[in-house]
Symmetry: C2
């Protein structure tokens, strides 16, 4: 991208600024006991701070990132920032609205104090004397630095990978400062496999004789071989296998000069070589050792009896967005899901979604569109749904969504919502299973002032729910409600979805595990219309309430009111209320005569576990 192009679409020219932090005479004390006599922070900002100072968004960078997030430095050095596609006017993190800040992390080598900085006491680089740091230290430095900028509250803290760990640490350590937290492709700690890769990477550096125990800055030889080797190992873990296959496969490059023995001509070999060589020119081996070590020992689950206790200090008003990337195997989706589960268990406000991407861990840097949509929705959303907003379309996105989303989910053509709303007590905790775009939750919020969580599988719906200021959890109901702890909700609602799930019996029981009451509406296959249709025509019925052909229907477990009653009796489920909804005059007559199964076009039941 040329500088000129960027001017049109990006934040324009920026510069990295350097701030020397005022420290007490004893220096900056680190968590592992070390002390830094000085502290410099390199940072960039984009957009402007609002007079109320309520629009600051702090971005935490990953292992090898720096403060240069967006824009470019000058016409001569027009290299865009590492997240330029995400940060800028009108982008996912919109600099027209937010004042965006990013600083190089402590221990880094891009302007903030790190092992390659000059130790003022010795007059030479710290090298082997640089003390051990933690993610806690990194975040404490960021907070000190923001204090210097007179920022005492963040509209959001955002980070991917190691940056996500920092974002979590922010919420735990400075709960009063964080309004929203976005944690992308990260987790509460590293997996054993990720630890193993870091260990092998550090080995490679330390076994390079040029590393010289960390004191190589004044030597001619630098530990470039070891650092390149560590980078190559890292790079393999950043890409998905699928992505490597697409990008390189087994393609070979044209050989110009004869290759050294045991070098191959595979494209993937030249790619890794290139990545390794490029890296050693911009990164410091000691920084790599220190930062990976801090990442390895970071573990929110370590010193608590139960992981949710790690978030005890977090402000209950802080809203979390946890984003997983489907083909990420360094921080696999299970780790984000686990984090989201723990946040739910901790009683926090949390939305979780899984983005499909073939790009592996790198996806948060290279596949921006979808992620930007989710971040934009979350960052701009009100803290609570605004009832008026339901009918307002907010830009192109919603329009696409309106077209794609089945009508049944989007609006309450059937009038179920009104009935359900009538059954719900004020200020109740409500779980809406298959919540669609969140309309029912909005209604319940407006009329009953509930605390609600939606569960939904479709990403477009999820974005719509997030945009409304509601919390939503992406999950396939067929995989159960493992994320939800026992008895967390007053009501679990399942509107017109029971017949679509693989294991309806299991789901009914799960609903009554997580909530005191279940409210379930379903089409009644026992209605005279269905029976007559099958009986007379000998074809599977297709009707308004069952609008699909047999071969492509999502309704794979049809049942009648009598079937449901029998199942409830079998499983010790008490039906507290049974609302039969007619569709025609004849339906109503049947119901009037007491033939409920015959007359009900749809049924809505309120259930609870028998004592």
């Amino acid at each position: 991208m040329t500088a000129e192009n960027q001017d049109k679409h990006g934040v324009g020219p920026v510069e990295t600024k350097y701030l020397r932090m005022p420290l007490p005479p004893e220096g900056f004390k680190l968590e592992n006991g070390g002390v830094l006599p000085e502290l410099q922070v390199a940072y960039e900002t984009y957009g402007s701070l609002a007079p109320e100072a309520d629009n600051a968004v702090y971005i935490c960078h990953a292992l090898t990132g720096d403060a240069h997030v967006a824009g470019y430095h000058s016409a001569e050095n027009s290299k865009p920032g590492w997240w330029d596609a995400m940060v800028g006017p009108g982008k996912g993190i919109d600099t027209n609205r937010f004042f965006v800040i990013c600083a190089n992390i402590l221990g880094g080598c891009m302007g903030t104090t790190g092992p390659s900085s000059i130790d003022p006491r010795a007059g030479k680089p710290y090298g082997s004397t640089f003390p051990s740091i933690t993610i806690g230290d990194i975040v404490r430095v960021q907070q000190l630095f923001l204090r210097e900028l007179k920022i005492t509250r963040l509209a959001a803290v955002v980070g991917g990978s190691l940056g996500g760990m920092q974002a979590l640490e922010w919420c735990i350590r400075f709960p009063e400062m964080v309004q929203k937290c976005i944690c992308i492709a990260s987790g509460m700690n590293l997996s054993a496999q990720a630890l193993a890769f870091d260990i092998v990477g550090r080995n490679a550096i330390m076994e390079d004789p040029a590393w010289a125990n960390g004191d190589y800055y004044q030597n001619d030889q630098k530990p470039h071989q070891g650092l390149a080797q560590a980078r190559m190992i890292g790079h393999i873990t950043y890409l998905s296998s699928e992505n490597m296959e697409r990008k390189f496969g087994r393609e070979k490059k044209e050989i110009q000069a004869p290759l050294p023995r045991f070098a191959t001509s595979f494209q993937v070999e030249s790619y890794l070589d290139y990545q390794g060589t490029k890296f050693v020119n911009r990164f410091d081996a000691n920084s790599y050792l220190h930062i990976t070590e801090a990442m390895d020992v970071f573990d929110l689950t370590e010193k608590v009896r139960e992981p949710s206790e790690a978030f005890r200090s977090v402000d209950p008003k802080t809203r979390f967005l946890v984003v997983a990337l489907s083909s990420d195997w360094l921080f696999p989706p299970e780790q984000s899901l686990e984090l989201a589960n723990v946040l739910i268990r901790a009683g926090k406000r949390i939305s979780y979604c899984l983005l499909r991407s073939p790009y592996g861990h790198d996806a948060f840097l290279v596949e921006i569109d979808r992620l930007a949509e989710v971040l934009r929705a979350f960052l701009k959303s009100p803290d609570h749904p605004e009832p008026a907003q339901e009918n307002v379309k907010s830009g192109g996105m919603t329009e696409t969504f309106e077209r794609q989303c089945p009508a049944r989910k989007r609006q309450d053509a059937n009038g179920d919502f009104t009935i359900i709303s009538g059954l719900i007590q004020k200020k109740a905790k409500v779980l809406d299973l298959g919540c669609g775009d969140g309309r029912l939750l909005c209604e319940l919020f407006a009329h009953k002032n509930i605390f609600g969580l939606g569960v939904e599988i479709d990403l477009e719906n999820i974005i719509a729910v997030i945009r409304k200021g509601l919390d939503v959890f992406q999950c396939d109901l067929d995989e159960g409600l493992n994320a939800i702890p026992d008895k967390t909700y007053d009501y679990a609602i399942l509107s017109q979805t029971l017949q679509e799930v693989r294991k309806p019996r299991q789901l009914l029981n799960e609903m009554l595990r997580v909530a005191k009451e279940g409210i379930v509406s379903f089409p009644n296959f026992g209605n005279w219309r269905q029976r007559l249709h099958l009986g007379v025509t000998g074809k599977m019925p297709v009707s308004e309430s069952l609008p699909f052909e047999w071969y492509d229907t999502p309704n794979i477990h049809l049942s009648t009111l009598r079937d449901i009653r029998a199942l409830c009796a079998l499983d010790g489920i008490r039906i507290l209320e049974e609302i039969c909804i007619p569709r025609s005059f004849l339906d109503s007559i049947c119901l009037g005569l007491g033939f409920r199964n015959l007359g009900a076009d749809r049924v809505l039941i309120r259930i609870t576990r028998e004592d």
Copy 2:
């Protein structure tokens, strides 16, 4: 395991033997142009060669294996062979029946000529002068060696990982010699990701100054650091992430002495250290370089227009068994599946199955039970089903299977098989979708002398089919028939399974893509009994042909005869024959009166694509 214990359960004491191969004066020519002046092969054998010499099984070892497959060397050195759990009397590869042979591969360092062997011309180890080798060379040496043992035909060649590549090369290069081929956790080539790991591993060795360009044998310093580093990287790829998590998680070991800087106390770090250190004592760095290079360049798809051409030379009577391991990410299941697909396209006899295992690539070495069951079934199976065998129980396994397998699949209580058999022409090519334990295929083989392939999802069934001497492909019908090329079969049979699949419409059309005719039997929801049941009782029918409750039925897409007719008309499918099967006298009366939909309890249709 003590030597005494092994005597009871294993092959007992064995010794590694060494054979110096007679070579022509010009030496042994290698594929890449090099020449070896001498050739020694280290090998072990177990069991006895039958007088007909028809029971030899050759085992190809993986990257760092050796000839010592089973048993132990002496009371003092009772270390069991690397596949001792698989090879022995009554084991998966049964030494009571088979004469089992394994030799260290060319380029290795366990007794067969490799870079650490003495070059007789120079009187010192080959080192940097050892020529480049290929998998082809490795297999050619094995064939030469077997000729010395007077073995001209192999009952089977078996290998996992790199061994699987050798097994495939065997079938291509010496087709007349191989009766059965077992290829476990392998593929036609390495993926880009696997290449990348090998590249980084080789780098680690070559960047170790002690490697000295390969001529380190007479130096004090050996490239142990680099080799250990390569081994550590390898080890991460052999284990699944799940397995590492279970085995080590983030557990820490008790620290005895202070750790070196940047070493962590995580168990996974000591495990990797241990693996690295142990390895350098038994393996040679140059062998690691040569063998991984041979593995990297091996590519059956490289010089052919279409991958199936790679198997052109293979004897059509050779039977393949391709086994994938679910959590293997070095040779992921997709690669085995791809290999199996290609073998089907090439018109070979092939069975494919996927074993569920959490142990990653290593599973073929450490999780033996299931794999042994599959190998035993395949190795002992006749080349064609023996009709009499159908009713014979062959040991404990079958008994377990009989208990587990639903009766509906196992036997033809409904009499469908007889009807289907009547519809099939002699010597036809038949695909049986959802083939259960293979009984229908057996019957068709006995009475119609067909060429058949079963498709099945359940592993117990797969083993039963393999044991019968039939070919079977493990696959979920919901995922389509991608493995099967267009118009490969005369008939595709789908017996009582249509209603169980997610996409019945797609499957019907897929059947007519891969076969000229489809034969489909299904329960008729249009039968008067179902209609009356729903109409009168208002509950979903549970009957002999639909024996499940609505909430746990696998029958998720019920249809009537009329529905099927409509769908066929819609998709341009012609119904050639429509066989309505009554269950009761009343059914028969309806059918007699011409009310086919009312009378048919089950329906069997023969369909084809309209011209």
